[in-house]
């Protein structure tokens, strides 16, 4: 209570002083009324000021009072120079906000531990080896039978958990007409118990739910999904939904904070791994494996044990490979098992954005340093102009610490306002960036809580920034020597050296930011202009599912029906979309030879697909309706080059490993298969009609209709087509509609993001560095105006003056730029994985930022030079 009132009093010191004065006044009047001499009554109090101080100190917190006085004084100082203060605050706010936003993203994706018991004991299993493209690669996918033997092998040291890649799947709660999508993960039944999770409602899955293939159709909902889809209805327990061929029963709802272990995806439904069709296949890689080490268990022995078990399993499996050379088999076995920390979960979003986010974080940190250097220079310049004031304060008895406090408080005001504005920016920017990463039908959902971690980071950053730019200025101000300062100022050059060093640092950082942003935008430019080989405009893709496997003949009927819809130009069928993520590969043998080490990729397509995609034919013909697979194949140019070494592949035979032989009937131009970043893959297109050993057509569950529309906006037809598919055959449903153009764009989401943010921050960095340079030049002209005046008076030409003013600073700019080149070249190897066909040593990549910085420096120097040569010697020399 008492401390509170003293703090309150400190914050309203004026009122307190008035009260004290008034009480004294009333006392004296009373005394006079009682007949005392007014002068004597006044004398009794002693010095009024001293009395007031004594009384004040009793009634308030003294240091708080001095802080308040400094704050008011600092605020007035800032308000006196509104424009510079606003510029300083804006640049700091922008960079603090960007840094905090970047931290929010990095924290949410990479650092924040999962809400499970002892997340620090969680590890993710992956294999490191040589990929099929001959480059080093890591694989985090596992086959379930391999998982089983590994789990048994380390039973005493660790518990292994299988968790499938989260997938958006079609499911229905009532009738098939109401099909909806949910993100489904197949998880080991014992996952919940191992992670120490408790149900919100009902029960969670256990090991008993995960024993026999397809016998335990039970599902657990995530709390998030329960809230969004069922509005937390407790009657959800016992409800059923159909997913694929199975009818699942909902048995429970998970704990509130747990959204799955795949950071960046919020899982809706958890089902037992045994319900996954791949649970019994030893060549079907479909889940991640997490390991939870028991307390006190060392990592390396567990890793070695798992490595040996996994290798033994693969060697056993490789015995079944026939017709492959020993080296090729060896290549697939040469993998090393890794155990990586997975306290923050394990997800594809993490691996694809880890480097990007860290790179962006470094960029914004550099921008923050540039802004700090600016403000530090500003404060130093101001401290110089306030040297006399400081000297006077010291002379009348102010302590050094009081001066440090005075300047630091001013810095703190700047930093706090900037920090507050930065918080608003961080609040908005992190979800904005996540929004940019989202493909429309599979939204990345990253929990971005603004809690003590983020708050703490923001506060620490603000404090750090304040000390960074405030402390040198404060110490400098407090070190003022009154005798020298009051006599006419100390050596102005000492101060300039420090400013120039900061300029060099600014230019270095600015160069790095510009250089990296240039690399990012060149990457985006090159990727987005890479020819796709097909024409994506006006092309609509309809992923379609049937209630059960349906004969290709029925699929053809639906395609035929769609061809009759007005506005449709052509329709074809394919197993899946190009660039849609589908992937099907095998080793192939040519003309009966043993299969080579290279993988070929496959896609089933109907007659007319090549024309609908507008991929040009080089040779041969399209499929005919009578063509079946095995039987005929169309290959792309890369396939022809790689497997036929320049001979015409027409009429030659290829054999997909383990299957029967096809004859090549056509050759088409290259088109990217699953990603536009990788080199073109050898692709064989095979007929949509697949026959089994007995010559019967094989039915299919899902496929994709490719529809080329007449109008330029294909999405205008989307709702009509969605309706027409079930009208053609009632058991067919459209699962998702996307334009091919959107799929192409989705390929460069990360590159667009990096280029956009990179360029934005490059612009900010350039602007800040330019302003900083301008400020320092202007200040040095002001400092040396007497010298310049004298030089002009004795006849120095304008060119000399311009050189005098700028030469030192431009030396610094040059030094900074050289350091920037070195730093940029050194840092490139950390972001190499983000670049596409861009070389760091490319002269253009180095020249562009150099020229930009040089131009900005020239522009920033102009006003100062103009001021310098316009100095009027007469007025100048008379003034002092």
């Amino acid at each position: 209570m008492s401390l509170r009132s003293r703090i309150v009093n400190a914050l309203r010191g004026d009122r307190l002083s008035r009260e004290i004065d008034e009480e004294v006044q009333s006392h004296m009047e009373e005394a006079v009324d009682q007949g005392r001499d007014p002068a004597e009554a006044r004398r009794a109090f002693g010095s009024a000021l001293q009395y007031r101080e004594a009384s004040r100190d009793v009634r308030l917190v003294a240091w708080l009072d001095s802080l308040r006085a400094d704050a008011i004084f600092g605020w007035r100082q800032l308000m006196k120079r509104k424009v510079t203060s606003a510029a300083a605050i804006l640049s700091l706010a922008l960079s603090i906000g960007a840094c905090t936003g970047a931290f929010r993203l990095i924290d949410a994706l990479l650092l924040r531990p999962l809400p499970v018991a002892d997340p620090q004991h969680l590890y993710a299993l992956s294999r490191e080896g040589i990929g099929f493209d001959g480059k080093p690669a890591t694989f985090d996918g596992w086959a379930y039978p391999a998982f089983r033997v590994m789990r048994a092998a380390v039973k005493d040291q660790a518990e292994l958990i299988a968790i499938s890649y989260a997938e958006r799947m079609d499911l229905t709660y009532k009738s098939d007409a109401e099909m909806e999508k949910a993100s489904v993960q197949y998880v080991s039944g014992w996952m919940f118990g191992t992670l120490g999770l408790r149900p919100t409602l009902g029960r969670l899955l256990t090991e008993n739910d995960d024993l026999q293939p397809r016998t335990h159709p039970y599902a657990v909902l995530s709390y998030d999904y329960w809230t969004l889809r069922f509005a937390r209805d407790p009657r959800v327990i016992g409800r059923a939904f159909r997913l694929g061929d199975d009818l699942y029963e909902i048995v429970g709802v998970g704990p509130r904070p747990f959204t799955g272990t795949e950071t960046g995806t919020v899982t809706d439904i958890f089902a037992p791994t045994m319900m996954h069709p791949g649970a019994v296949h030893d060549d079907w890689v479909w889940h991640r494996t997490l390991a939870r080490l028991k307390p006190g268990v060392a990592v390396e022995p567990v890793r070695a044990r798992l490595d040996a078990t996994s290798r033994a399993f693969e060697e056993e499996r490789a015995k079944g490979f026939t017709g492959m050379s020993k080296q090729d088999i060896q290549k697939t076995l040469d993998h090393r098992l890794l155990l990586d920390h997975a306290a923050a979960g394990a997800s594809g979003l993490q691996s694809s954005y880890r480097v990007s986010l860290l790179a962006l974080g470094v960029l914004v940190a550099l921008v923050l340093l540039i802004a700090c250097a600016n403000v530090a220079n500003l404060m130093t310049a101001q401290a110089a102009s306030r040297a006399r004031e400081m000297a006077l304060r010291v002379s009348i008895g102010a302590g050094r610490w009081r001066l440090v406090q005075l300047v630091l408080v001013e810095s703190a005001i700047l930093a706090c306002i900037s920090g507050a504005m930065g918080a608003v920016l961080a609040w908005w920017s992190a979800p904005f960036v996540v929004g940019l990463v989202n493909p429309p039908d599979n939204p990345a959902r990253l929990a971005l809580p603004a809690d003590w971690r983020v708050l703490g980071f923001g506060l620490a950053l603000t404090l750090g920034v304040m000390l960074l730019f405030g402390l040198t200025a404060a110490l400098r101000a407090s070190a003022v020597k009154p005798a020298i300062a009051l006599k006419g100022g100390e050596d102005p050059h000492t101060r300039r050296h420090m400013m120039h060093a900061l300029i060099a640092a600014q230019v270095t950082f600015c160069f790095v930011v510009l250089f990296v942003a240039g690399l990012f935008s060149a990457t985006f430019e090159r990727l987005s202009h890479r020819p796709t080989g097909f024409i994506a405009d006006r092309l609509l893709t309809l992923d379609t599912v049937a209630q059960r496997d349906e004969s290709p003949v029925f699929w053809d009927q639906v395609a035929e029906h769609l061809r009759g819809v007005p506005g449709v130009q052509s329709v074809a069928l394919a197993g899946w979309r190009l660039l849609g993520g589908g992937d099907w590969n095998r080793f192939v043998s040519v003309n009966g030879a043993p299969p080579g080490p290279d993988l070929a990729y496959f896609l089933a397509v109907s007659p007319g697909w090549v024309d609908t995609m507008k991929i040009p034919f080089i040779d041969g013909r399209d499929f005919r309706p009578s063509d079946t697979w095995p039987g005929a194949a169309i290959v792309n140019e890369t396939f022809a080059k790689q497997f036929f070494k320049g001979e015409s592949p027409l009429g030659q035979s290829i054999t997909k490993y383990g299957e029967r032989t096809c004859k090549v009937v056509g050759v088409v131009r290259d088109a990217p298969y699953r990603s536009i970043r990788e080199p073109i893959l050898p692709v064989a297109y095979v007929p949509f009609h697949r026959i089994d050993e007995h010559g019967a057509l094989q039915p299919l569950r899902d496929a994709t209709f490719m529809v080329r529309t007449v109008s330029a906006n294909p999405m205008a037809l989307a709702s009509i087509l969605r309706r027409e598919v079930p009208r053609a055959r009632s058991e067919f449903r459209v699962s998702s509609i996307r334009t091919q153009a959107e799929l192409v764009r989705a390929q460069t989401v990360r590159e667009r993001l990096l280029a956009m943010l990179g360029l934005f921050f490059a612009g900010v960095a350039l602007l800040l560095a330019g302003i900083g340079l301008y400020g320092v030049l202007d200040y040095s002209v002001l400092q040396r105006r007497r010298e310049i005046g004298i030089r002009l008076a004795i006849g120095a030409p304008a060119g000399n003056i311009a050189r005098l003013v700028t030469v030192e600073v431009f030396g610094m700019v040059l030094m900074g730029a050289l350091a920037g080149v070195a730093l940029g070249m050194a840092s490139v190897r950390y972001i190499e994985t983000l670049l596409y066909q861009v070389k760091a040593g490319d002269p253009a990549m180095l020249a562009l930022p150099s020229l930009t910085i040089l131009a900005a420096a020239l522009l920033a120097a102009l006003p100062a030079v103009y001021h310098a040569v316009r100095i009027d010697p007469v007025a100048m020399l008379r003034a002092d």
Partner: protein, 109 residues
């Protein structure tokens, strides 16, 4: 709390005692009461009375409020709080202990 020397201690004691008998006094009245009550022997100086009053107010022993007197002047009057009453008891017994101890020393030496 700050250490109080014996003089300040007795000033606090006097002020608390006076306010316990006659609440709602202003500073000048307290000063007069000390002077009159001690038969002009003790005098509280303005320079020490008001800081003492403010200190005791901050300590929560007394509370103050502004009133408008019949003369139309504003005055700040003081009264004892519950904590002040406890403090008065403590100070009084301390004072008794000190004076009796001092008296004993004066008698025996």
């Amino acid at each position: 709390m700050r250490k109080t020397d014996s003089l300040q201690g007795s000033l606090d004691l006097l002020v608390l005692k006076i306010l316990s008998r006659r609440p709602h006094l202003h500073g000048y009245a307290i000063m007069t009461a000390i002077k009159d009550g001690s038969g002009d022997v003790l005098r509280a100086e303005e320079g020490s009375l008001y800081p003492a009053l403010h200190r005791m107010e901050e300590a929560g022993w007394i509370r103050a409020e502004w009133i408008v007197k019949d003369t139309g002047r504003r005055a700040r009057i003081y009264e004892l709080t519950a904590a002040g009453k406890r403090q008065l008891d403590a100070e009084e017994s301390r004072w008794q202990a000190v004076t009796s101890a001092v008296n004993r020393v004066l008698r025996t030496v």
